[in-house]
């Protein structure tokens, strides 16, 4: 599904942030992406999100080389990728329901069509009672569950999560990772979850990708 071959990344004329990345991700798999701060986790996620192009090497996603995609094709491919951020990035003036429905609105679906799906998903993530609340009234855990719901509502093939447990307590972190695991198991979604919380990794038996100084030192 995803293949990196000798990929390097640099911003402008600066030093290489990522070096010689070679790995492949199978469909329906779950991977932890870990490493110390500054190791390049977010940059790698941005490459996977197709918001950056590699400086060298070859990235193949869904069977296509991403280096020479047209703008339209890039957009279509990006719609197969969901993203969850550490800082949630919910739109403050929209309700939980409207935030989660956003990817479907972008796809041009009418509200009458997506309302049942969004409601069902919000109930599944435990936000059925909070769907009309604005983000400012949600707790950290609720915001992150809303952000996860938004990332998966359009059924992407790949779900990327950048430190999704960074702003919640350890107990909630564990429950959130369970939620990702459930999505992986029930929907067959490929998940790459970036975190630097080692105790969390030990709770789950998923392969790890360890980045150190821009290089992939472990990929099991």
């Amino acid at each position: 599904m995803i293949e990196f071959s000798d990929v390097g990344l640099r911003y402008g004329n600066g030093p290489e942030i990522l070096r010689d990345l070679t790995f492949s991700i199978e469909p329906g798999s779950f991977h932890f992406l870990t490493g110390p701060s500054g190791a390049g986790k977010t940059s790698l996620l941005r490459l996977l999100l197709l918001s950056l192009k590699p400086s060298r090497g070859r990235v193949t996603m869904f069977g296509e080389d991403v280096s020479d995609l047209t703008q339209d094709r890039l957009l279509q491919m990006r719609r197969h990728i969901g993203i969850v951020f550490q800082e949630f990035r919910l739109l403050d003036h929209l309700t939980t329901f409207e935030n989660v429905a956003l990817p479907l609105r972008v796809l041009g679906q009418p509200e009458s069509e997506y309302r049942p799906n969004v409601t069902e998903l919000l109930e599944w993530v435990g936000l059925g009672e909070r769907m009309n609340a604005l983000p400012s009234l949600l707790s950290g855990g609720e915001k992150q569950r809303a952000a996860i719901a938004r990332a998966v509502i359009a059924r992407p093939k790949v779900l990327l999560a950048d430190e999704p447990t960074g702003n919640v307590d350890p107990e909630l972190s564990s429950r959130l990772v369970h939620l990702f695991a459930e999505l992986n198991r029930t929907l067959g979604m490929t998940i790459i979850l970036a975190t630097h919380e080692l105790p969390l990794l030990d709770q789950f038996n998923y392969p790890r990708m360890l980045l150190s100084k821009g290089e992939l030192v472990i990929h099991d």
């Binding site: 999100l49 990035r89 990817p103």
Partner: protein, 309 residues
């Protein structure tokens, strides 16, 4: 008050706007567009008023010509006046002709010579006022030719004066249109800056939309919808303010001035009655401003997105 007024104006229905409706940039732009619409509507209304008054004036003056008979030694003025009246009345296209009395003629000189002067010792030119049924059909050339038989007689068709009036009215209309064009340019520039400001303020929203797979076209459409709404609201408020302005000016001109002065102002400006064409012009400001706002913001957003993505 303004909030209540805005609440009755057209709003988009369906899901909430992705671009926040209440923002500093939005309120500033609404105020700016309201002011620009008001200025456009007032300028347009003023142009219509001037043009209508000039046309009415020109038509009124054109329906009247004046025969002037200067005193000439050896000629009998009263006899010449009767001949001139007779010649005028027999000319095709003339409705009526009347010689001004000596008192009326002297009264015409009062603005220059003052009142209370005894002018009986001075022979002054006399006038014959000729009313035309239709200026286009009147045989003015024939009358001019016939008047050559009377010594000291000349015909004034007010053509020069009318031409000056038309030139002046044309200059005012042209200036008004130039002002309208400048207001349009200023509005476009202000919308461009406001749009770029709104884009920077809402950068987080643009990023999130990009991450969830929104195309630049979709994002531009969302911003365009928001700006179209602001344009419609601003245009409507500005046009209503302009209508109120003309109603107040008309009422002030009618009530606050003395009846004589009011009549003079009425002659000059047609009593500030916009008429149906003026009202249509002011109403047209609303969609034009809204369209200008929507198109300008769309182009600006597309450029902004192209630069940043």
């Amino acid at each position: 008050m303004i909030e209540r007024l805005l609440s009755i104006l057209p709003h988009r229905r369906g899901p909430a706007s992705i671009v926040p409706e209440k923002s500093v940039a939005g309120r500033t732009l609404l105020l700016m567009i309201t002011i620009m619409s008001f200025l456009s509507a007032v300028t347009l209304g003023g142009v219509v008023l001037v043009q209508k008054s000039a046309i009415a004036w020109s038509a009124d003056v054109g329906r009247e010509v004046t025969i002037q008979i200067r005193p000439v030694a050896g000629e009998v003025m009263e006899s010449n006046l009767r001949t001139a009246v007779s010649l005028a009345q027999s000319t095709p296209g003339v409705a009526a002709a009347r010689a001004l009395t000596i008192e009326e003629s002297q009264k015409l000189l009062e603005p220059w010579l003052g009142t209370g002067l005894d002018l009986t010792a001075i022979e002054i030119p006399r006038l014959v006022v000729v009313q035309l049924t239709d200026p286009a059909d009147a045989d003015i050339e024939g009358l001019t030719r016939n008047l050559q038989a009377i010594k000291g007689a000349s015909l004034d068709t007010h053509a020069v004066w009318r031409q000056q009036l038309n030139t002046m009215a044309g200059a005012i209309v042209f200036s008004g249109l130039m002002v309208l064009a400048l207001i349009g340019v200023a509005t476009v520039l202000a919308i461009i800056f406001a749009t770029r400001g709104a884009m920077s303020t809402n950068r987080e929203i643009v990023d999130v939309l990009h991450y969830i797979g929104a195309s630049n076209k979709f994002i531009a459409g969302e911003f365009q919808g928001r700006f179209l709404s602001i344009g419609l609201q601003g245009g409507l408020l500005g046009a209503l303010a302009a209508l109120l302005f003309f109603a107040l000016i008309g009422a002030a001109a009618g009530n606050m001035l003395s009846s004589e002065a009011g009549a003079q102002v009425g002659v000059l400006f047609g009593r500030f009655a916009l008429g149906i064409d003026g009202l249509i012009g002011i109403a047209a400001v609303v969609p034009v401003i809204a369209a200008l706002t929507a198109i300008t913001s769309r182009v600006t957003v597309r450029r902004f997105l192209a630069e940043t993505s």
